[in-house]
Amino acid sequence: MPLQAYLVLAAVVFAIGLFGVLTRRNAVGILLGIELMLNAVNINLVAFSRFRGDVVGLVFTMFTIAITVAEVAVGLAIVIDIFRVRRTIEADHLDLLRG
């Protein structure tokens, strides 16, 4: 398969994740959309790494995977903390900081 096939597939997954981030009301659902977007980025990195014959893209993918996992851990801890205080994780209801 040519490089473009993988890039277009990644673009499709990125667009689906973006759709999820924009339309989900639940904060966990928004985080799942962000997961999909980061996965699409990883596909791009690995595809370029393969077609350039360069291992650096794989190293960057490892970094993004590790950082994403850390982000999910902190993000979900924040979600659980918000749920404790406000009894909801609907993003529309979390407007405490709105001026």
Partner: protein
Amino acid sequence: MTAEVVGFWVVAVVLVAGSLGVVLTPNLFHAAVLYLPAALVATGAVFWLLDSPFLFGVQLLLYAGGVVTVVVFAIMLTERLVGESIRQSSRYVFNGAVLAAAVLVGVAGFVVQRASPALIPAPAGEQMLAIGRALVGPFGVALQLLGVLLVISLIGALYFARTDD
């Protein structure tokens, strides 16, 4: 069709279907235990198709194993599993679809117009060996910073999850 083409299309269909399930299913628990693992494993299969079985393993361990478990725990802690409260509605569906489609058309249109670059063969030798050498060589500082980041995020998650007493 060669095996790679068949594999690509099978994986692409599973990946897109799983991703759509994650963002569209009204039951968030189904999204987390069914569609998200499907999408993440399919992403790992794409890595395998791109000659990176090592990243396939990393993807399975960290995403399909770790992230899914954490997400399921978060959903169980924040939703009542019985009753209708777990059903999710979406907002701004039309606006979101238009914006996502615009991003897709923009990126894919740009990508398709470019000429396909010639495949440069990977340097000979074990791939994992090359990754390991890069991690402790030119990316040594980044690896150390990643370790610091993981410790900080661990402390941060503990701080947020603490109880008052």
